[in-house]
Symmetry: C2
Subunit: 649 residues, 2 copies
């Protein structure tokens, strides 16, 4: 008897293992299908359905199949059991069922009206993974990659506009959606489509903030492929990256805003508390992310020069880089800040400082690793969004609400882009033309972040309705607007491969010489704000020499009385850099160009080789802002530790 029971228990456990494998296998299968489809589309230059749209479509189909093929859950689920002895829900519950103790783990709290929704499909229920996997594992690599692959030159040239769109624009979008939805909800209550108590104004604002997170992954991938005008690309890229961070913090602040008495009345104290909260969290997350990156830069810097060669072990270097960057995210989350913001600025700072200290091998490894993780995570998320239409058990479809949200989203996008562009054009030397504005308006897709924010809280009926609506708006925008990007570009006559750009054009001026980048530098200085110039000077004179091997030596930038400290902190290789134009090295691309150029002049390499390496760098420069699939080639140096060798020579 006892033997038999043990045997059954092992069988049971095996069953559970296989379940885990089956779910992962389904995701794998979806991803393989997606990759094969992408490859087919790329091959036939078919641009009306992007990979993200394809992944979503496959997810949807798979959900449909599972829904109708697999059997529904056992009868027990859906029944609520009473337990009078318990006063609150413990994290682990031990239950004695027919003389056998079972351990159960706390999953979540459920509203009473949702209980019936739980009589769903067992397979689909298992496919629903914890939102914390979304936030802790899938999102960080995507956001980090965005920061790490920022085209810094163009980004800083358009910094003012990007910040305006990201901060002011997202706030406008949030308020406009909130107000329109509140009006809509009031009207729906009036005609009897909705119960009065369901929506407060704060709920509408909450919906506004989560729907303000734009995600033009699809658009940017197409832009990249078609070599669309770099300024437009940078504006959109910069806006969408920062806008995510703003929307996340905004959503958090609104969910915390809780007026004392009437939830519809304005409570100044609570409002200012929320604003203070927003600023505090944003600044805190920024500081957390940057400081992790600075620590990484310092470690890699120390390893490279002062002690010994970490760069001889590219695996350790890559591992450290990866773990410290992920820790930036996790520490921020653990400290109650926003991990996404932290990891974004961590990525930017890593690219600015740490990247310069890495060995050539690690430079390539880190880039490829994050590129790959970004690619996988993105496709998993879009597959999952497709599946979520079926796996999520408590959808509330309200056609009127969805229609209202669609209208609100577009009005909000318009009142973000057009007025702000008008204001920005007053101050900009190089105006943002009309067709760029239309394209930006058109590129307001919603994606992973809006979905993730909506799924985080689906306890109440209004929140469930919001989630369903957000999911459908994501589908609509990704398929319709994502698919329409190529025709729209042609129609708006925007510079791209389709309209008047030679695909190799960008390659030539950059690969040609440094004089071009000097020209760029001057325009950058003229256009950027005074704040940026002060920061740039400080960064170039003190931070760069302290954290990397580029820039002038500290001994020449610090005042005389600091010279003993300065000499201690300056790496031997920095002295050699005094000779070259120090101003070009605040951009990775230029930096590498210079280094390569220098190397080809100073080292006795054959002539063919040196031109080869310059061309290769030029290519990489173009593909730096690469989000999805670009296959840039980095020329791997034969010697493992280039900077080290330089310093010894």
């Amino acid at each position: 008897m006892e033997k038999l029971k043990k045997y059954v228990s092992v069988k049971d456990e095996d069953h559970f293992y296989h379940q885990g494998a089956v779910e992962l296998l389904i995701f794998n299968f979806l991803l393989i299908l997606t990759i094969l489809t992408i490859w087919l589309f790329k091959n036939h230059r078919f641009r009306f359905l992007h990979e993200t749209g394809g992944a979503m479509l496959y997810g949807l189909l798979m959900g449909l199949i599972i829904q109708y093929v697999t059997k529904s859950a056992d009868d027990e689920s859906g029944t609520v059991y009473e337990c009078e002895k318990l006063k609150s829900g413990p994290s682990t519950l031990l239950i004695n069922i027919t003389n056998q103790v079972y351990e159960y783990q706390y999953k979540r709290e459920i509203s009473h009206h949702n209980v019936n929704g739980h009589q769903g499909n067992a397979m689909l229920q298992k496919m629903t993974f914890d939102p914390s996997i979304f936030f802790n594992i899938l999102l960080p690599p995507i956001i980090f990659h965005a920061g790490y692959s920022l085209k810094k030159r163009h980004f800083f040239r358009n910094l003012g506009s990007i910040l305006t769109y990201a901060f002011l624009g997202t706030a406008i979008s949030c308020i406009v959606i909130g107000v329109i939805m509140y009006g809509f909800v009031k009207a729906m209550v009036h005609i009897g489509q909705l119960k009065q108590w369901e929506f407060h104004f704060t709920d509408c604002l909450f919906f506004g903030s989560l729907m303000s997170a734009t995600d033009p992954v699809t658009v940017l991938a197409i832009f990249h492929e078609l070599n669309v005008d770099t300024d437009l690309y940078t504006l959109l890229f910069g806006e969408s990256v920062l806008n995510d961070a703003v929307a996340i913090v905004l959503t958090h602040s609104i969910s915390i805003y809780s007026p004392k008495e009437n939830p519809n009345a304005f409570d100044a104290a609570a409002f200012f508390q929320s604003v203070g909260n927003f600023l505090g969290i944003f600044a805190g997350s920024f500081a957390m992310g940057s400081s992790y990156a600075v620590v990484t830069a310092l470690i890699s810097f120390m390893h490279l020069t002062k002690f010994t060669k970490l760069c001889e072990f590219p695996m350790l270097e890559t591992g450290l880089f990866f773990l410290l960057s992920w820790s930036a995210f996790l520490s921020a989350e653990a400290a109650g800040l926003t991990g996404i913001v932290a990891v974004l600025f961590c990525g930017v700072t890593q690219a600015h400082y740490t990247y310069n200290n890495l060995s050539p091998d690690s430079k390539m490894r880190t880039k490829q690793l994050f590129e790959f993780m970004n690619f996988l995570a993105e496709n998993v998320i879009f597959c999952y969004m497709g599946l979520a239409l079926f796996t999520f058990q408590n959808h509330i479809f309200n056609p009127l609400f969805i229609f209202g949200a669609l209208v609100a989203v577009f009005v909000a996008r318009a009142s973000n882009i057009y007025p702000l562009s008008f204001l920005l054009n007053l101050g900009r030397k190089q105006k943002i033309p009309r067709n760029f504005q239309h394209m930006m308006m058109f590129s307001g897709l919603r994606g992973a972040i809006a979905f993730a924010l909506a799924i985080r809280d689906t306890d109440s009926q209004p929140k469930q309705m919001m989630f369903t609506t957000a999911l459908l708006i994501v589908f609509f925008t990704v398929w319709v607007f994502g698919g329409g990007t190529t025709p729209m570009l042609t129609w708006l006559q925007i510079r791209s491969v389709l309209v008047g750009v030679d695909p190799d054009e960008d390659l030539k001026p950059k690969a040609a010489s440094q004089s071009a980048s000097n020209l760029d530098k001057n325009t950058t200085k003229a256009e950027s704000a005074w704040l940026f110039r002060i920061w740039y000077g400080f960064d170039h004179k003190y931070l760069k020499p302290l954290l990397t091997h580029t820039g002038p030596p500290l001994t020449s930038t610090l005042p005389g009385w600091c010279s003993p400290v300065a000499r201690l902190l300056t790496s031997p290789s920095a002295y050699g850099d005094e000779l070259k134009d120090g101003d070009t090295d605040y951009i990775i691309d230029n930096d590498e160009l210079t280094e390569n150029y220098e190397r080809s002049v100073h080292t006795p390499a054959p002539a063919q080789d040196s031109t080869g390496s310059i061309q290769a760098t030029g290519k990489e420069d173009i593909q730096e802002g690469d989000l999805g699939l670009g296959g840039y080639k980095l020329q791997l140096q034969h010697t493992a530790c280039q900077p080290q060798k330089n310093s010894l020579a």
Copy 2:
């Protein structure tokens, strides 16, 4: 009131998110510490504590800190609640507690006597992750990497010996441990240290099979670093890789062996069922793994030639490669086979066929990706083993049992290595010397697989005692034997950097010419068995040309009447290969050497470049079998799709 409750619920949820982040952060922190320590040790050439030992030590310390610093769990846990209405444990349980419904998820079944053990530490409980994460996510990359980085030339040269050690040796080890432990348990019962009912002979055999999985990660990493004799390295590497697979399937078969009546009596029917089960699962898993690899090879082959260039998108290629290899594991698990065996042979087959079809960029990407994943997963596992001493709540320390197990493990290792070596030496031309045998005896560390097999089933008291014992034996062997590897090598006078090997020696003959490899080939043929020779001929004549771009064209190997089919299936580049010595290409290393050599002869590259590339390949050759940290350098071609270009030229 309602508002307030919602607010509390959000807070509560936030709390749960942060918990997930904190746990991941702790692991990140442990890994960062480990990496910094490895770097320090490598720097000071300190070889007495290897990285795996270090990771385990940090895990142990962290567990100790958590144990004593954090507060213990809430009072609710540890109390068992009654539920008369339930007849069996459903997968999801809804419970109404003070008018609020909570959802609980099934975790596991608990024996009555373990209930008290659950009054443990909440933090530690959360750090205990599901064994299915171990099996589905952490183990596959390690095993795949082992297969993918197999030094095939040396592996096949010693194939007979490796198979003998792996299959016969593991079976011997399992039986010897089982018998000794059974005797020990009987004796303990006799002196009153153990209750009679607890251990059956099958339990002892189960323990024997899980303790037979050796894991010389530590030893091999040191061997690699010290350039130890390649034959010894290959023998150990091959044995440990295959031995894991054998031990896993053996454990499964024994757990299924359930004699009808008396569990101590021998039941022939059940025994043969278990043996059949063993063979069936092994063969099935092998077939599953290989067929996934063949599918991958076919896809990459098709993409490369027949249709268009998948190799233009190295990201897609790498993604497909990664997902299909992982799917091999998951499919096997889902089908009730052994994923580890499937993914191992998938790795070997991928390296043999698919690797040749990949673009140079993807070759490097896949290698680096799996190397990195292997590195991370390995360190996570060893950290986790350290933590498990504290996180696992139901340890049963029985000093006598542990002592007995330690003795049994060493007797079993000795009765595996020495008699089998003696038998093998009767047949081998190149004998396995005495000092090699001692070193193999000494390298019988236990590691991740033994731990994973033991943690899979800890429901009953005997299983818990086995788990505790296995964990302590892992600690002991990794620290004592891992640390003693270097002194042992010196003491046994084994060829290495320490004793009579010039670190660069291996480089010269390999880089020099092909004649050396021809010589090797001849000895290979002389030494290997007839079965292997038949397989080799079949592989070289039909499979290689069908699945890769190397080897002779099918038109010349297939009989005349097949020529239309053969012409269709042969890639254009294969015809060019007729000229070169077709026999060298069954080994990746040689293959690349030849290709590079050919390229340097056929293409008008500068002379410096060609010698450079041959040297680089030579280096890579040596570091191919690299398990841990080796930083091999692959020369990345400037042109993205080399084979494609060749075929067009």
